[in-house]
Every structure is written in structure tokens, then in C-alpha cells.
């Protein structure tokens, strides 16, 4: 932790949580998106609807799930539907306001790669693949992306277009007949980015406390654009920070508790 009293990762999660509103219906990816969505739910947006692709609608987990299908999600959901129904009625049906995604590789137009590093047929690294993301990216009304910055992750050219963002920028989405907004927000551990209204290139609009332009550029693989009027992200409030830390502590305890007994189990088995 820095002298600021919070980590960059905490700032990222909390900044992301602030972007969510009580009437949002979020299709939640695992990891940072899941933490952000649940912090929003536990602070300023208690009415927010969280949906995980396992079919759980309106879920309110007490601890963060390790997978998108943990039992906790079903236990606390308003209803749990089949996976085909999830993708047909709820995602494709246009009922998701925010699709919240992470990325292995991201370019400046919000295109995402989670499929391969290297050539598809002969990959250097075979990643898990798209899962729900290709259709989340085009059927959600808008897309928020959150990831920690690195030159390996934020690249000039992604190796594979798993999920379409703004393509080559400009009106590329419209030209493909995609009528949803696409990526409208990128929240990293250093800054808040929004697409330029015309070019759709992600532009830094707010630096997190203590972060410099140089730091942002050093950890990004493309030449960073900054908004003319650059803001500073408000620090996490005590409530936000405490909520996030409590959530993480509950989650760690739950997973660790299981881990201990499970090790015993797997030695038995």
C-alpha cells in the first residue's frame, strides 16, 4: 500500500464501482468487474441488478465468487435461469445496460483479446477464449472495461479480436450494423479513460490520486491521449474502502477455509 492509504487496485475497483447506478442491469465478468459491481451494490447502488452468465439474475453474494457459477450466486439471486435463456432473452434480448469486462490484451479502441497470444493456429500462449464476451460486447447497451495497466496488456495491436470494441475507431460499429454503444469507459489502476466522441480512441479524463501522466504512458503500449481538462479521481471514501476490504476479507476467509479442508479432501481422494 502506498502512503495514500489505499492501493492502485483498490482505487481501480472503487472508481469502477462509482460508474454504476442503481437502475443498471450489469452482466458481470469475474475478477475486478465482480468486485466493482458488488462494492457498488454495497454502497451507493443497493438496487443494482447483477447478472452472471451462469444464469443467476439479481444476485447479491456475501463473498465474491471464485467462478461465475458459485452456489452463493444462486442462493442470493432473484431467479436462476438456464444458460440458453440467459444468452437469448436477457443478453441478446437487449436487457443488459452494462456489460463489465476484463481483458488480457486491449487496444486503444477498446477491442479485447482473451483468445491467443501469437497466431491462432500456432499460438505462443493459448488463453481461455471468449466465453460470453463476444456477444456481451455487442448486445449490452454499453461496455465498461477494467484492468490493471501494463505494456503487455495495453497494446498497439491485439493478437486476436475476441470481442469487438470500436474496431478501427470512428463509426466502425455502425458500419457493421451494431447499434449498441460499445466501450464507453475504461478504468485502470491509474486512470479513468473515455472514448473520444469522434475517433473513439480511449482518452484519459481523470488521473487517480498521486498518478502522473508519465506513469500512465510508461505502462501503456500505445501513445496515450489526455483530455484537455484532466481531472483527479476523488480518493476512495472511508465507506468505499471499508466495504471493499471487508468484502475481500470475507472472500479470502471463505476461500481459505475451504482450501484447508479441501486439501485434506484431495489427499484422501
Amino acid at each position: 500500500m502506498s502512503e495514500l492509504g489505499f492501493t492502485p487496485n483498490e482505487m481501480m475497483t472503487i472508481a469502477a464501482s462509482r460508474a454504476l447506478k442503481g437502475d443498471d442491469v450489469c452482466f458481470v465478468g469475474i475478477g475486478a468487474p465482480s468486485a466493482a459491481c458488488n462494492v457498488a451494490r454495497l454502497t451507493h447502488a443497493p438496487e443494482i441488478t447483477l447478472i452472471y452468465e451462469s444464469g443467476t439474475i439479481g444476485t447479491a453474494p456475501d463473498v465474491l465468487p471464485l467462478s461465475i457459477g458459485d452456489g452463493e450466486l444462486c442462493d442470493t439471486a432473484i431467479t436462476t435461469v438456464s444458460v440458453p435463456e440467459m444468452f437469448r432473452y436477457w443478453l441478446q434480448g437487449g436487457r443488459i445496460s452494462i456489460g463489465f469486462l476484463g481483458a488480457a490484451q486491449l487496444d486503444k479502441f477498446g477491442n479485447i483479446n482473451t483468445t491467443v497470444i501469437g497466431d491462432y493456429a500456432h499460438p505462443k500462449t493459448r488463453l481461455p477464449g471468449g466465453g460470453g464476451a463476444p456477444e456481451i460486447a455487442t448486445s449490452s447497451q454499453e461496455i465498461y472495461i477494467t484492468m490493471a495497466q501494463s505494456k503487455r496488456g495495453m497494446v498497439d495491436k491485439i493478437d486476436f479480436y475476441t470481442s469487438f470494441g470500436h474496431g478501427d475507431g470512428g463509426d466502425h460499429r455502425q458500419r457493421l450494423g451494431i447499434d449498441t454503444k460499445g466501450p464507453t469507459l475504461l478504468i485502470t489502476d491509474l486512470a479513468i479513460w473515455k472514448p473520444d466522441p469522434a475517433t473513439k480512441e480511449f482518452t484519459v479524463v481523470s488521473l487517480h490520486p498521486g498518478v502522473t501522466r508519465e506513469k500512465v504512458q510508461e505502462t501503456c503500449g500505445w501513445t496515450v491521449k489526455f483530455a484537455d481538462k484532466l481531472e483527479e479521481t476523488p480518493e476512495p471514501t472511508q465507506l468505499e474502502l471499508q466495504t471493499l476490504r471487508d468484502l475481500k476479507a470475507r472472500t479470502d476467509a471463505a476461500h481459505k477455509g475451504e482450501a484447508v479442508s479441501a486439501k485434506r479432501g484431495s489427499k484422501d481422494g
Binding site: D70, V83, A262
Partner: protein, 285 residues
């Protein structure tokens, strides 16, 4: 009409070398015991279908049983990569693996179409996504009313699907509840459906009328294997063994350690060993 069989016989009767097979389960209710039985029986040349091939397909691929994998997310959920699958794709070890990769939406629709007896599914998908370039089984159809171009994928029709479910009644009807995932579609899409269950109960008289029940005449065989989803979970019976998923990441990272683990934990075990593996996960379910 279904038959109650020991798992070894249910697998031997219904799986063949060269089959297209789905061991389905969307995080919840993964049919691990059935997959391990298939590993013990040493099938070859399988086409493995699953939305989320996780540990069990990593294991089957690592054991050299798969010719091809059809999937939409080849990760260890919440943990990372599947290292045996990676080794097969990146290095052809233990042998080359053909892959047919889709999105979840495509696979979900393909199973749904399979259950519905259709040759293909159409949906609004893959727009701007590069999978459509590398997978020749992603095509398109044009809506005859609006002219909109929609994605089309072939339906999934496995020779046999294995699923795990909470319970059967004595007639052989099967109940799936909680995160129901793609279980019903996967079972109905297949020529043969084999179900492992936690237990058999007298009847389903007190069930809510709208639950997911597979009537006995839609199920080929049922095997009672308590704990058979471990390290996945069975809603109402035992919780997910997250630690085993974390542990798998280390086991699968090394070819020798993998073989050794498989020998000890799969080859030398039977379906009866699953029950003990979930004992400590039961009281918290």
C-alpha cells in the same frame, strides 16, 4: 426407458471410441465421476464438446483421449488457464488436438437447437469477432423478413451426453436444480443421455411443478454416485471445492506431476471414492 446401472457399466455401454461426447456442467454439477470412469476405461479418439471444458477435459486431453475439442471457454474458472489443453494446442503433447472454438452464446444456442432437433441455430452474434474468421462452422443466414444477417452455427448433437444431477426417483425421472446451466439441453440434444445422481428418492410428489425434470424415457442410464461432481458442487448437497481448482493449476503445470496425480487419484480409484471427497464440504452446503 432408463436403466439404473453401476457407473462402470453405464459408461461402457454408452461410450465408444471415436464418439462425440459431452460431459456437461456449467461450473455446477460437473460429471467428474463419469469422466474419471471414461479415463479408466481408456477411450480414444473422442470429440469432446463442452462450453467450459475445465479440469475433466484437461485431464482427458492430457491422457491422450481426445481427437478434437469443441468449446467456448477453455479456462480453469476463476483460476486461469488449462495447462494440459495448452500443452496439446501449443506443443501437440501428448498429441495434436483439433479445436472448434465458439462463444458461449453460440454454444448455448447450438445445444438448444440440438435439443430442439434442428440442424442449426441462428442468433445475433460474432459481430466484429475474429472467431468467425478461423472457425468454418460459423456461417450466416439472412432474415427473410428484415434482411438482417444473423450468425448460424451447426447444432450440437452428441452421440452421448453425461451429466450429474441431484436426484432420481425410483421410476428414473431426474431432477436438476440450482444453476441448471445447459444440462437439460445437453441431455436432450444427445442420442444417449447418462446421468449420475447424488441419491435416489421414492418419488417427486412434493416437487414444484415447474422444475427441471428429465422424464425417465428421455434418459438412457442412471448411476448413483454420491459426490460425483467433486470438485464441482451439487446445490443442496455440498459446496464447491475451490481449493482443488487452485491446486489443479499446479498439478497440470507439469507433465510428470500430472501423470502421477492421474495414476493415483483416477486410475487407481473408483466411483465409490467420490463420496469421501465431499464429506467436509457437506455441512456447509
Amino acid at each position: 426407458m432408463t436403466k439404473f446401472l453401476p457407473l462402470s457399466k453405464a459408461v461402457a455401454d454408452n461410450l465408444n471410441n471415436g464418439d462425440t461426447v459431452a460431459f456437461e456442467g456449467f461450473t455446477h454439477l460437473i460429471p467428474t465421476a463419469a469422466a474419471h470412469e471414461a479415463i479408466r476405461q481408456g477411450f480414444k479418439d473422442l470429440t469432446l464438446v463442452r462450453m467450459t471444458p475445465d479440469l475433466i477435459y484437461d485431464q482427458m486431453i492430457g491422457m491422450g483421449m481426445a481427437r478434437k475439442a469443441i468449446f467456448s471457454y477453455a479456462g480453469n474458472p476463476g483460476v486461469g488457464l488449462l495447462r494440459r489443453l495448452r500443452d496439446a494446442v501449443e506443443n501437440g503433447f501428448p498429441h495434436a488436438l483439433e479445436i472448434e472454438e465458439h462463444s458461449h452464446a453460440a454454444m448455448a444456442n447450438a445445444y438448444e437447437a440440438g435439443a430442439a432437433g434442428l440442424p442449426c441455430a441462428i442468433f445475433r452474434g460474432y459481430r466484429g469477432a475474429e472467431l468467425a474468421r478461423v472457425n468454418p462452422n460459423i456461417k450466416s443466414v439472412t432474415c427473410p423478413f428484415t434482411g438482417e444477417v444473423l450468425a448460424a452455427v451447426p447444432s450440437v448433437r452428441p452421440d452421448v451426453t453425461f451429466i450429474h444431477a441431484q436426484k432420481a426417483n425410483k421410476r428414473g425421472d431426474v431432477l436438476v436444480e440450482g444453476i441448471i446451466g445447459i444440462q437439460k439441453e445437453a441431455a436432450l440434444a444427445a442420442r444417449r443421455a447418462v446421468v449420475t445422481v447424488e441419491e435416489v428418492v421414492d418419488n417427486f410428489d412434493d416437487l414444484h411443478p415447474n422444475l427441471t425434470v428429465l422424464p425417465n424415457w428421455s434418459v438412457t442410464a442412471i448411476s448413483v454416485v454420491p459426490g460425483g461432481a467433486h470438485p464441482s458442487y451439487a446445490h443442496g448437497y455440498y459446496i464447491r471445492d475451490n481449493a482443488s481448482y487452485l491446486e489443479w493449476d499446479e498439478i497440470a503445470a507439469d507433465r510428470d506431476r500430472f501423470r502421477e496425480w492421474m495414476q493415483k487419484n483416477v486410475i487407481e480409484k473408483t466411483a465409490d471414492d467420490f463420496s469421501a471427497r465431499v464429506e467436509h464440504l457437506r455441512n456447509v452446503a
